[in-house]
Amino acid sequence: MKEMLTIAMPKGRIFLEAVELLRGAGYELPPEFDDSRKLIIEVEEEKFQFILAKPMDVPTYVEHGVADLGIAGKDVMLEEERDVYELLDLKISGCYLAVAGLPDKKMNDVAPKVATKYPHLAAAYFREQGEQVEIIKLNGSIELAPIIGLSDRIVDIVSTGQTLKENGLVEYEKITDITSRLIVNPVSYRMKDARISELVSRLSKVVNPA
C-alpha cells in the first residue's frame, strides 16, 4: 500500500504544466481534469491528492504539513520565507522580477514610493541598494500605481513585458529570474521519504535530461 501524497499547487496554467511534467515522469494521470471549481482533486491510481490553492498560499500549506509537497514560484518563496525544502527547479512558468515605472521618471527625492505584491522582497531589495523607499502593498493590477501617481516604481513579475508596454511602463532593473520550484515539508521529507525521493528523482530526469 502506497501512502497518499498531497501536493499543493496554483490553479490554472501552472497546474496544467505540472500535470504534464508528472505524466512525463511516468505517472498515470487522467487525460483531463475538471479543475474548474474543485479545490481538491484525487488521483486514486497514483495516490496523489492535488490541492488547488492561491499561488501565495502554497508554501503555507506545505510549511504546516497539510500538503506534503507543493509547487511554488521562486517569487513566492522569496517573499514568504517559509521553512520548507526547495528540492527541485521545475523550470516551468519562467519569468523574472523587475523594477518598472513610467519612462524617464526619476525616483521622487522627498518620498520615493514603490508599489508591489511583494512587500518583504521589495523592501529587502531596496535596502540592499541602499535606497530608502516607502513600500506600498497592493494585491493586484500593480501597473496602476505609477500611472495614477501612487508610486514612482513598481516591483512585479514580468514574463513577456506585454503588460508593462500596454500600460506605457518601462523596466528599470531586473531583480532575479523566477521559475516554479518543487517544495516539500521537512517532516514529510523524512516520514514519506521513499515516495518523495522517488518522485523527485523521476521528475528531475524530466526537468534536467542528461
Binding site: 525544502y85 523524512r190 525521493s197
Partner: protein, 394 residues
C-alpha cells in the same frame, strides 16, 4: 477596573483550560518518569536571565528574544531555551568533581514569533542534558532515551533523523578550501534551499569529481548504507572521523534496539553554529514541524568557563500533544452534593473516597442553581440531602 483587554492576551500567549491541562500533564509526567528512571535529575532555573550571558549563549536568534530591562538598566531575556541556563548552572555550581552530569527539565520557554501571531510564543519543553561526557555512548543515550520517552508518552508514529555537523563541515572544507566558502554552502543547506545549493555548486570552479561529491551529498539519507556512501566522498581527516562516530553510534542504537525509529540524514543542519557533532531532529505523524531535536554542543560550556563537551535533547510538549491527537479522557470526577443537615456525613463520605484515590468535589446544594446541569457535569454523583436517611435521591 477597566474592561479593556479583558479577553486578550499578548501575542502568542495562550490559556490552558482543564481538559488540555490534564492531557498535557499526563504526557509530561510519563516523559519525566522515563527520564528519571534513566538517572536524570530535574532542576529548575529562573525564567529571566541576563541577556549578556544566557541570551547571547543560546541558540535562538536575537530577534526571537523577549527582552526587558531590570531596575538597574541591565538587559534581561525571558529564557528562549533551557540548554544555556543549564550550562550556566552546571558550569558555576555542579561541575566540580569532573563526573558526567545528567540533568533534566520541564519548563516553559519564550520565543517571540515573527509571523502569524497565533503561533505560541510560550511553550513547554521537556528535555535532558548530559554534560561532561564526550563519548558516543552519551550521544546514543540521547537517541535511545528520546525514543523510549516518546513511546512512554504513547507516541507510535515517529522518526529520528540523525546527522553529523562535523562531517558536513569537513566535507565542504576539503572540497572548497576555505571556511568562508564552506560557510556559504552550509547556509544553503540550513535554509533547505537545494536548488540554490546546486546552482551555487555549479557556479564554482571545481573539478567534475568534486562537483559530483557535493551533488551526491544531498542524497545521503536513509539507513545504515548511508555510512558507506559517506565514506566514498571523504577519504580522510575529520570528516572520516565523523563517519567513524556514526558507525559506532549505529551499533549503539542497534544494541538499544531502537534502530527502527532512527534514520540517517547527513544533510541535517539544525543551526548555523550551535551544534558541533552528532545531531538529530524528531518528526511525528500529523504535525508539520519537528516535535523535538537534540545534539552535541561542545562549545557552549566553554562560554561559561568550563571547557567540556555536552549533549542533550528536548521535546516540545505542544507539538507532541498535536501528534498524539485530541484530548485524552479526563480522570473521573465524583461529586457529593449535600445539604447543611448532612454536612458532616458528606465530609466523611468525601474523605473516604479521597482516601481511595478518587477525585471528589464537595458541593453545598444550596449553591447550585440548576441541579440537572450539575449532575451532567460529573461522572458520578452522591446526594446527601435532606434529613438523615430521607434524601430525595441517593
Amino acid at each position: 477596573m477597566t474592561e479593556l483587554f479583558m479577553f486578550e492576551k499578548p501575542l502568542g500567549m495562550r490559556d490552558t483550560l482543564p481538559d488540555l491541562y490534564e492531557t498535557k500533564s499526563r504526557a509530561r509526567s510519563s516523559i519525566k518518569a522515563e527520564m528519571k528512571q534513566w538517572g536524570y535529575q530535574f532542576i529548575a532555573t529562573p525564567a529571566l536571565e541576563y541577556y549578556e550571558t544566557v541570551g547571547t549563549a543560546s541558540a535562538i536568534q536575537d530577534q526571537q528574544l523577549f527582552k526587558l530591562l531590570d531596575q538597574q538598566g541591565h538587559t534581561l531575556v525571558l529564557r528562549p531555551d533551557m540548554t544555556a541556563p543549564i550550562a550556566r548552572v552546571a558550569a558555576s555550581k555542579l561541575l566540580n568533581d569532573d563526573l558526567p552530569l545528567r540533568l533534566a527539565y520541564s519548563e516553559s520557554l519564550y520565543r517571540a514569533q515573527q509571523r502569524e501571531g497565533g503561533r505560541p510564543a510560550e511553550f513547554e519543553q521537556v528535555g535532558v542534558e548530559c554534560i561532561g561526557d564526550n563519548t558516543i555512548s552519551a550521544d546514543g543515550e540521547m537517541i535511545a532515551l528520546a525514543v523510549s520517552s516518546l513511546k512512554k508518552a504513547g507516541l507510535t508514529n515517529f522518526q529520528l533523523s540523525v546527522g553529523h555537523i562535523g562531517f558536513v563541515q569537513d566535507l565542504f572544507l576539503q572540497i572548497l578550501g576555505n571556511e568562508e566558502r564552506a560557510q556559504t554552502l552550509t547556509k544553503y543547506l540550513f535554509e533547505k534551499n537545494y536548488v540554490g545549493y546546486r546552482e551555487h555548486v555549479q557556479s564554482l570552479s571545481l573539478s567534475s569529481i568534486d562537483r559530483q561529491r557535493l551533488f551526491s551529498f544531498l542524497d545521503m539519507r536513509g539507513g545504515e548504507e548511508v555510512i558507506d556512501k559517506a565514506l566514498s566522498v571523504v577519504e580522510n581527516g575529520k570528516g572520516k572521523a565523523a563517519i567513524g562516530e556514526l558507525r559506532v553510534l549505529w551499533d549503539i542504537i542497534r544494541e538499544y534496539g531502537v534502530e527502527s525509529s532512527v534514520k540517517f540524514d547527513l544533510t541535517l543542519v539544525s543551526h548555523m553554529s550551535y551544534y558541533t557533532g552528532i545531531l538529530f531532529e524528531i518528526y511525528a505523524g500529523n504535525v508539520g514541524f519537528p516535535i523535538g531535536n537534540g545534539g552535541r554542543y561542545d562549545r557552549l560550556l566553554q562560554k561559561f568557563g568550563k571547557p567540556t563537551g555536552a549533549t542533550g535533547f528536548a521535546v516540545r510538549l505542544d507539538r507532541l500533544l498535536e501528534s498524539l491527537g485530541g484530548l485524552q479522557e479526563t480522570t473521573p470526577l465524583h461529586c457529593v452534593l449535600f445539604s447543611s443537615e448532612r454536612r458532616q456525613e458528606a465530609f466523611a463520605a468525601a474523605a473516604e473516597k479521597r482516601a481511595n484515590g478518587e477525585n471528589v468535589v464537595l458541593q453545598d446544594i444550596s449553591g447550585v442553581k440548576d441541579i440537572d446541569a450539575c449532575t451532567s457535569k460529573f461522572s458520578d454523583i452522591t446526594f446527601l440531602v435532606g434529613k438523615t436517611g430521607k434524601g430525595p435521591l441517593s
